[in-house]
C-alpha cells in the first residue's frame, strides 16, 4: 500500500478514537479559521449561480 495512503488511513482511525469533545473543539477552531479568511454561510438565494447562457 502506498505509504501516504497508509498514514492517512492510520490518522483517520486515530481521529475516530479521539474523544468527541476534542473533535468538536477542532470543529469550532476550523470554523473560526474559515471565518477569519472570510468564509461564511451564504443563503441559497445569495449563492453565485452559473450563467445559463455561458
Amino acid at each position: 500500500m502506498d505509504e501516504a495512503l497508509r498514514i492517512k488511513r492510520a490518522s483517520r482511525v486515530a481521529m475516530t478514537a479521539t474523544p468527541i469533545a476534542e473533535k468538536l473543539r477542532i470543529l469550532e477552531r476550523l470554523r473560526e479559521r474559515d471565518r477569519a479568511i472570510g468564509r461564511a454561510v451564504i443563503a441559497p438565494e445569495q449563492r453565485p449561480t452559473r450563467d445559463a447562457s455561458a
Binding site: D2, R12, L24, V41
Partner: protein, 173 residues
C-alpha cells in the same frame, strides 16, 4: 464550548415540549463518528407536534429560540454564535433516522445525534460531492455497522444510488 450551549438549548426545547424529538446531523453530527470536517452551520432534524395544522411550520421553534436570545439569519437561527438550521423530518429515511437517534453525552451535556448508518444513508441520498466523501469516511471508520447500513439502503430505495457510489469508488485503492 459553543456547541455544548447549542446542545443544551436543544434539550431545553424538548423539555419545554417545543419539539417532540430532535437529532443533530450534517457535519457536526458526523463529527461524533469520523474526523471533523469544516462546516459553517449546525443541521438539526426535528419532529414536532403538527396536530394543529396540516402545514409543517417552524414558527413555534423560531419563536421559542428568539425569545431565548437567538437571532434569525436567513434560513438559520443563530444560537451561541453558530447558525443552526432546523430541518423538519419530511422523508421516510429522516423520520426513521430520528426514531433511531443516539443519545450521547459530551462533557456532561446530553445531546441526540443521528446514528452513523443513518447519516451515511442520508449522505448517499443527498449525493453531493461532500456527501460522497463523508460516506467514504463512515465506511472506513472502523465502527460502522455495514449490515445495518445495507438494510437502510434496501428499505429506503437507495440500492441504485449505492451501486453507483460503489462503481465510482471501485478504482480507489
Amino acid at each position: 464550548m459553543a456547541l455544548l450551549d447549542i446542545f443544551a438549548e436543544l434539550e431545553a426545547a424538548v423539555a419545554d415540549r417545543i419539539v417532540e424529538r430532535y437529532a443533530v446531523g450534517g457535519a457536526v453530527g458526523a463529527t461524533f463518528y469520523i474526523e471533523p470536517a469544516a462546516t459553517q452551520d449546525v443541521d438539526v432534524f426535528v419532529v414536532f407536534d403538527q396536530s394543529a395544522s396540516l402545514l409543517v411550520s417552524l414558527a413555534p421553534i423560531y419563536d421559542y429560540f428568539t425569545d431565548r436570545g437567538a437571532v434569525v439569519q436567513n434560513e438559520h437561527l443563530v444560537i451561541a454564535d453558530w447558525p443552526v438550521q432546523f430541518l423538519p423530518a419530511t422523508t421516510p429515511l429522516v423520520e426513521d433516522a430520528l426514531v433511531h437517534a443516539v443519545r450521547m453525552t459530551v462533557d456532561g451535556q446530553a445531546v441526540a445525534v443521528l446514528s452513523q448508518e443513518h447519516l451515511a444513508a442520508i449522505a448517499l441520498e443527498t449525493g453531493r460531492m461532500k456527501d460522497k466523501l463523508r460516506l467514504s469516511q463512515f465506511l472506513t471508520s472502523g465502527t460502522f455497522e455495514r449490515l445495518r447500513f445495507d438494510a437502510l439502503t434496501e428499505r429506503f430505495g437507495l440500492t441504485q444510488k449505492w451501486a453507483r457510489f460503489v462503481a465510482l469508488m471501485e478504482d480507489e485503492p
